[in-house]
Amino acid sequence: MHADSVPLDARPAVGAGQAVCSAGELRPGQMLPVLADGRDVVVIRTPDGGLHGLEDRCLHCGRRLSHGRLHVAVTATDVGRYEEEQGRFVIKCSGDGYEYDVATGTTLFDSARSVTRVAVREADGAIFVGAPAA
């Protein structure tokens, strides 16, 4: 269920507190765009099983983050030493490539810029989207 495989008009549209899919439908490494209570949200299942929700709109030109790619974050402790940050995942926007930490919504180029986090939870075998996280 990669985001690219979900036509926009096929996005699940749910009201507050309603399940968007069953837990098994969103597998590790997948993203699901949903219209939750009139709000565009991307629900993210990271490869390590973590579940995150972000507003599905890039700060740059407003593309859907759910159309981007989910990667392990890349860092370096010295010039030329590429390292993957285990346990930290980013969405790289399909446009000019802004990177967002999926757990915080913060861009990797400027810690002062973030997209809004949205609370998501898994319960009773389903995934629910709630209000924007504090």
């Binding site: 890349v74 370096a76 010039v79 030329g80 490539g97 990797l108």
Partner: protein, 375 residues
């Protein structure tokens, strides 16, 4: 060497203009004067084999005095900047110079790579000569440690050696055709930062612009800011400033009007491509504001409004330091280079405060620096 006698009537005239720190003054030494500072093994290359410094510029500097201001040429035929008395009269005593930072003429970093041993020895001789004949004779002069960047180990040794002399405030790298961000040069930046020495990056006649030298001097000289943009891109994206957060770099003889463009463009690249250069931890514009400064010369003929707008676009009034480039032909006079109605606080920062903050090894202030009369 013949000393030039300066007319006392001239030297006693009151100094003119604002108190300032001059961040680009070229003293000059001919290679035969360096012989006492070179091991005998090198002498014959200068005395018999007539070694001359690399110069790849395919034209002359087509001005009345060539590279130098015509009135800076000495009556005995030597080039401008060759004589302390003459330099004192035309610059230090003519204007309100508190300190002038010497930037030299002979710098092997802008030569081709070969014969490193000789060129490294030559840089040591230049530094010893500079200390004895300039710095120790005139307290208003501050020195630059010249190094041969091709020889990284030799450069670090030279920086460590000369840092013991309190007159040196800077390490000098002239630009040839190599970008200095490459990791091979990093130990030079480490050594400079460790000693509190600024790294001055200075343009040279051996710096091509992006498509070579062009057919005409005017073409090449117009595009000199490209060289500085290349160096900034190289230093920033090769992580030099992240690796050495105490490092300060002064970009000398390229002006500064290209800086807002570079900041905007580099920030955009970083926002889009950070994952390729993950050792870079700040937006390039922030790195510049934290760690890079710009000597003014050759400043364009701005109106006050244009200059204030430009500084506003840089989002800091602490990045630009005044320089004359004495004795070169496009010398900028402190009486005329800045628009007369420029905001006084900004003028004070450009003439004095910014260089004082940059050069940590400058001696304490000798006078209260004020804007004063700029005419």
């Amino acid at each position: 060497m013949t000393a030039i006698t300066v007319d006392p009537a001239t030297s006693a005239a009151p100094r003119r203009g604002p108190v300032f720190i001059d961040t680009d003054v070229h003293e000059r030494v001919d290679t035969t004067s360096l012989l006492p500072y070179l091991a005998p093994v090198w002498h014959k290359y200068i005395t018999d084999y007539r070694w001359v410094p690399d110069r790849v510029l395919p034209y002359s500097q087509p001005t009345a005095g060539g590279l130098d201001r015509l009135d800076s040429l000495l009556p005995d035929g030597r080039p401008g900047g060759s004589d302390l008395g003459w330099l004192t009269s035309q610059l230090l005593d003519e204007y309100n110079v508190e300190y002038a930072i010497l930037t030299g003429w002979l710098n092997a970093s802008a030569f081709a790579e070969g014969w490193m041993e000789f060129k490294t020895a030559l840089m040591s001789a230049v530094n010893d000569y500079q200390a004895e004949h300039w710095l120790e004779k005139e307290p208003r002069l501050c020195g630059s440690v010249h190094v041969n960047a091709w020889d990284t180990e030799g450069s670090v040794r030279e920086i460590d050696r000369m840092a013991a002399h309190p007159g040196f405030v800077q390490v000098m790298l002239y630009v040839g055709d190599q970008p200095f961000g490459h990791p091979r040069y990093h130990p030079i930046f480490e050594a400079a930062a460790r000693h509190g020495l600024v790294v001055g990056i200075h343009h040279s006649e051996n710096s091509p612009v992006s498509m070579g030298f062009g057919r005409y001097f005017a073409e090449w000289h117009t595009l000199v800011p490209q060289v500085f943009m290349s160096q900034m891109g190289s230093l920033i994206f090769n992580g030099v400033f992240d690796k050495y957060p105490d490092l300060k770099v002064n970009m000398i003889e390229g002006g500064f009007s290209y800086v807002p463009h570079f900041m905007w463009h580099a920030d955009q690249q970083y926002r889009q491509l950070r994952h390729e250069v993950p050792w870079v931890k700040r937006l390039p514009s922030q790195i510049i504001r934290d760690q890079i400064r710009f000597a003014t010369q050759p400043i364009e003929e701005f109106t006050a409004e244009q200059l204030e707008t430009l500084i506003g676009q840089m989002e800091s009034d602490e990045l630009v330091c005044f320089s004359t480039d004495y004795p070169h032909w496009d010398f900028d006079s402190p009486l005329e280079a800045l628009p007369p109605d420029l905001n006084a606080d900004l003028a004070q920062k450009i003439f004095y405060d910014n260089a004082r903050a940059l050069y940590q090894r400058l001696p304490a202030a000798t006078r209260v620096a004020t804007q004063g009369d700029r005419r």
